[in-house]
Amino acid sequence: MALTGVLRPGHAQLRVLDLEADVKLYRDVLGLEETGRDSFGRVYLKAWDERDHHSLLLRQADQAGIDLMGFKVDSIASLDRLEADLNAFGVKTERVPAGEMLNTGDRVRFVSPMGHTIELYAEKKDVGNGLSYENPPPWNAAAERGIAPARLDHALLGGVDLDGTIDIFTKVLGFFPVEILYAEDGKTVVAIWLSCSCKTHDLALIRLPENGKLHHVSFWLDSWERVLRAGDIMSMNNVSVDIGPTRHGITRGATIYAFDRSGNRFETFSGGYGAYPDMKPIVWSIDHLPEGLDYVQRKLHQSFLTVFS
C-alpha cells in the first residue's frame, strides 16, 4: 500500500456558544448527519459520504474555537510507531483510552508548539455512507440534503511557533509542503499548506500572535457549481458569509468562507490539484496574498488575517 502512516484529518472538535443553534446549522444547513451524543454533552456529526462514525464534534462552551483535531492513521502498528517517533523527537504525548470518544479507539494526543491539541488514532467504527459496499448507486438522498459536503477536508490553524509545528508534521508525521506563503523577507514562513495524501492540503498552518487559534475547518464539495449552491443555501438561512464564492489562487480551490452561529469559520471547498511528495512546493510572496486568497477579486480581505476563533 502506497499511502501509509497518517491518512487524513478524521475529526475536529469545536466549541460553540449555543449548542442547539450550531447543531441546527451543521446538521440542517450544512447537511451533516448527527450520529450520536455522549455523556459529556458532545454532539457527533459526519458528512454523508464519510464511512467512519463522525468527523465533527460540537461542545457547548463559553468561548468559541477548536478543542482538538484528530488524524486517522492506517494501523495500530503505525499509531504505536508514531507515538514512539513523537517522543523521540521530544514531543510529549498522552494516550486517551478507547471509548472516551464514541466508537473511537485509543488516541495518541499531543499539544503542538502552536498550542493546538492534535490526536492520532487508528480505529473508528465504520458506519457506512448509506450506500452498499456491493454494487452501490453513486449517491442517495443524503447527498442532496442541505449543502451536503462529501467529507471533512482540512483545517487551517494559527499560532506563534509555526516553524516548530511544521517540523513535527513534516519530520515526524510524514506530511509534505505543497504551497508556502513567505513574508517580505522571503524567508519567514507566514503560512503553509501541508499534505499527507494527494490533496493540496490536509492541514494548513498560519503564523499568528496568539496560540491555539482556529481559522477554519473545511468541508469538501464535488464541484464549483455545488460551492455556488452552498452560497445560495447560506443566504437562505442567514449564514454569516466572510469571503466568496470565489477561487483561491493558493491551492486553486473554489471556496466560500462563512461562520457558524458561534463565530467559528468554516469553508465549503472544491477543486485543487493532485499533489505528490516529489513535487516542488509552490511559493507565494506576501504581496501576492490578495490573489492567493481571492484570485477573482485580487484584493486583500482583512478578515483573513485578523478574524479567528
Binding site: 456558544l17 516553524d163 524567508k187 466572510d242 463565530g263 479567528f308 476563533s309
Partner: protein, 132 residues
Amino acid sequence: MEMAGEANIQPQTAEAPAFVTVTILNSGETCRCRTDESLIEGLRRMGKRGVPIGCRNGGCSVCRIEIVSGRYAAHRKMSREYVSDEDLAAGRVLACCVKPLSALAILAIGKMGKALAASAAGEVKATGAERP
C-alpha cells in the same frame, strides 16, 4: 435570551423606535440603524466601515465596541474569551450581539481597529524565526 445593557443609562424598556441614529465616535460618522437586527448588521448593510466586521456571531471580537451612551439589548451570547462580566457592566460588548433600542454613541475598541489603521495591503507581523 435578552439581557439589559447598562452603559451609564437608565433601565431599558421593551419599546424602541424602528430606526435609531448610531454615532461612531472614532470617526464621527453616523448611521440610521434598525432596532430589530444587530448593530453590526445595520452598520454593514449601510456600508459603514467604522466598526470592523468579523464573524458577526459573537466568536471573534473584532467588532468590540464601547457603548458610551444609549440603550441596547444583548440578543446572543458573546465569547467570554473577549467579553467579561466587567466588560458587560461597562457597556463593552460585541456589536454583532446587541441591538440598539435608542440613539447610541459608540467607540470601536476591537483589536482590528488598529490593524485597519495600520494596514498597508498585506502587512503581516511575522514574529518567529526564519524557515529552517
